[in-house]
């Protein structure tokens, strides 16, 4: 069997794939965070809780209503998006003129409430969610065994991330959005309904988180704490990448997933902390982040 640094190749590739899967979640979440921050000037701590909510909705749909994975993959982000709409109109819109810190604190409070609700009904134990039939099993690629579902997660998240990138960078809607990020008052003066754009941006960002949640449901067990564990890592990813560039967010997310996967192979004890160590190094070498601009 082929070995690299004493590690069998299939094991290495398996961990790399797992890292890529995690990286896809990082990418989708940090992308949503960056877009929301650009428009609302709020760091959405609730992003993790809404990701958890997306996963839970998928599980609940199957458990109580018998709605299958594919339908929930669309439905769950829609429901969470509408929920985000309500949050933005009801709570967040009062904070835009205040210090950024209040946005972080408010969304932190929202996180605690959402988690508390799910916890009071389902506790903290995981709910298993089966891989959909069409993606069950694995494909032998010759050099490794590829579990179909994991392959699907990576492809689906990449497609969605690139679609968001194209939407923002290549369409006229995206151009308005970017202009709104730069100078909302000027854009408003051109007759664009900026408050509505802000609301929809938030809804879109959290829908992306919910989409990631549904994708994650069959891989990780669905539980009420899955979001907050992830969001802190994603914060580190955001610090490493900087929030200035969409493509930067995606690349940083994927890259760190791979770094994490490799660490699991060569030095498993550090696999849960490696992202934070990378963050510390980046802060020392390039404080503005890999893709950030020094202000």
């Amino acid at each position: 069997m082929t070995e690299i640094f004493g590690v069998p190749l299939p094991a290495l590739l398996g961990q790399l794939l797992l890292g890529l899967v995690n990286g896809s979640f990082y990418a989708m979440l940090s992308l949503g965070l960056a877009v929301i921050f650009g428009m609302l000037n709020i760091i959405n701590f609730a992003h993790g809780a809404l990701y958890m909510m997306g996963a839970f909705l998928a599980w609940m749909g199957l458990e109580y209503l018998g709605i299958n994975y594919w339908v929930m993959l669309v439905l769950s982000p829609l429901v969470v998006g509408v929920f985000g709409l309500v949050i933005e109109r009801l709570l967040l819109k009062w904070l835009y003129k205040l210090d950024h810190l209040y946005g972080l604190l408010l969304t932190f409070g929202i996180t605690l409430v959402i988690e508390g609700i799910f916890r009071s009904f389902y506790g903290v134990s995981g709910q298993p969610y089966a891989v959909p039939d069409a993606l069950a099993g694995a494909t032998n690629l010759g050099f490794m065994i590829l579990p179909n579902y994991r392959g699907w997660v990576v492809v689906a998240s990449l497609v969605v991330c690139l679609a968001v990138w194209a939407l923002i960078e290549k369409t006229s809607l995206g151009a308005t959005l970017r202009a709104g990020t730069e100078n909302p008052r000027l854009v408003q003066a051109f007759g664009v309904n900026v408050p509505r754009m802000v609301t929809l941006t938030y809804a879109g960002g959290v829908a992306l988180a919910a989409f990631a949640g549904v994708l994650a449901a069959p891989i990780l067990q669905v539980n009420s704490l899955m979001g907050s564990n992830l969001i802190i890592t994603v914060f580190a990813v955001v610090v490493i990448g900087g929030m200035g560039s969409i493509l930067g967010s995606i690349l940083t997310g994927l890259g760190l997933g791979i770094v994490e996967g490799l660490t699991k192979v060569f030095y498993p004890e550090a696999s849960s902390t490696v992202v934070f160590v990378v963050m510390a190094v980046v802060l020392l070498v390039r404080p503005a982040g890999l893709f950030g601009k020094e202000k």
């Binding site: 921050f37 760091i43 709570l91 009062w94 904070l95 205040l98 950024h100 810190l101 209040y102 972080l104 604190l105 408010l106 932190f108 409070g109 929202i110 996180t111 605690l112 409430v113 959402i114 988690e115 508390g116 609700i117 916890r119 009071s120 506790g123 907050s228 802190i232 890592t233 914060f235 580190a236 955001v238 610090v239 004890e269 849960s272 902390t273 992202v275 934070f276 160590v277 963050m279 510390a280 802060l283 020392l284 404080p287």
Partner: protein
């Protein structure tokens, strides 16, 4: 003695009499530890304008370090506390050096991430006892007095708290504190006046971390255990909430906030049972298991309506009345 000082002296005397009034000493000591923790945190957010989202790291570091020194190395109690505080200050120095490289919202995210890294380290390290934590840490004796007596320990903890509070008060009202305030109000201006603001921020950060550590080490001595919860991000959130409820940037606000939140945590189970009995909805009975639901709601209400906190709002109200008179 001016009015303010005599106010603090009366307050101190009243707190000293609490055990005689039948207040459960362990509860009072726990409140004092968290009040000190919140005051230390307030030194950053309230007086320097830095939001640290990772203060649990310092509480947890000192809790474990003091617990280890007391239990395994057999340190006398005060030395154990000093050791814990020093370790927290050291961690504060490392975190501070990294975090002050970014400002504002990034500062918060960096401190949160660094604290999470330390949490994972504690989870895996052997000296912390993993999920079980450090149990049955001995209290030892001080000047021949056994601290196993809760009332004796109460006065030791009170002395520690009073001393630390005095230190914070002096810091805030010193020229150094004035520079910190100027950084909070307008950092570029402070820089243009010739202050090396990074050094001031780092010093404030280390001081805050050390004081949070003092709270954590004392807490281990009082409760006899240190667990992973001390270093968890929810604890970082809790100290923010205490400070926010009481009033950021006020001297006594964090103390009141700590008292309210700790009391709420203790009583929320009963409250849930009572609500369940009253409304017949069984869901309320489990409220004690999901405290975060209630703390989250308080967070939301505070941020939207009471950003100045109880003490801050009360001060503003008094000011308005005085102006009208």
């Amino acid at each position: 003695m001016n009015k303010k000082t005599s106010g603090y002296v009366v307050l101190l005397a009243a707190v000293a009499l609490l055990p005689l009034a039948g207040v459960y000493p362990i509860f009072a000591m726990k409140v004092m530890c968290y009040a000190l923790f919140a005051c230390a945190f307030n030194l950053l957010i309230g007086f320097t304008g830095l939001l640290s989202f990772g203060h649990a790291a310092f509480l947890g570091t000192a809790a474990y370090a003091a617990g280890h020194a007391l239990k395994v190395w057999g340190f006398p109690p005060l030395l154990g506390i000093v050791f814990g505080t020093a370790m927290a200050a050291l961690v504060g120095l490392v975190f501070g050096l990294l975090a002050i490289r970014r400002a504002g919202i990034y500062f918060a995210m960096i401190t949160l991430a660094l604290a999470q890294m330390l949490f994972f380290f504690f989870l895996q390290a052997s000296f912390t006892g993993g999920e079980d934590g450090l149990q049955s840490v001995p209290r030892g004796t001080l000047l021949g007095l056994p601290l196993d007596n809760d009332t004796t320990l109460y006065y030791v903890v009170l002395a520690i708290f009073a001393l630390a509070f005095w230190l914070i008060y002096r810091t805030v009202h010193s020229p150094f504190g004035q520079v910190l305030t100027s950084i909070r109000e307008n950092e570029p201006r402070a820089i243009s006046l010739g202050y090396d603001t990074d050094r001031f921020k780092l010093l404030a950060f280390v001081l805050s971390a050390a004081l949070a550590g003092l709270a954590g080490a004392t807490k281990t001595l009082v409760l006899g255990f240190a667990t992973l919860t001390d270093a968890l991000w929810t604890t970082s959130g809790l100290v923010i909430l205490m400070t926010l409820v009481g009033g950021m940037g006020t001297m006594v606000g964090p103390i009141i906030g700590a008292l309210l939140i700790i009391a709420l945590e203790n009583k929320i189970g009963d409250l849930g049972q009572w609500l369940a009995g009253l409304t017949g909805v069984q869901w309320f009975a489990g409220l004690g298991e999901s405290v975060s639901l209630v703390t989250g709601l308080i967070f939301i209400i505070c941020v939207l309506a009471f950003r100045r906190g109880l003490v801050g709002e009360a001060g503003a109200l008094l000011e308005r009345l005085r102006r009208r008179a």
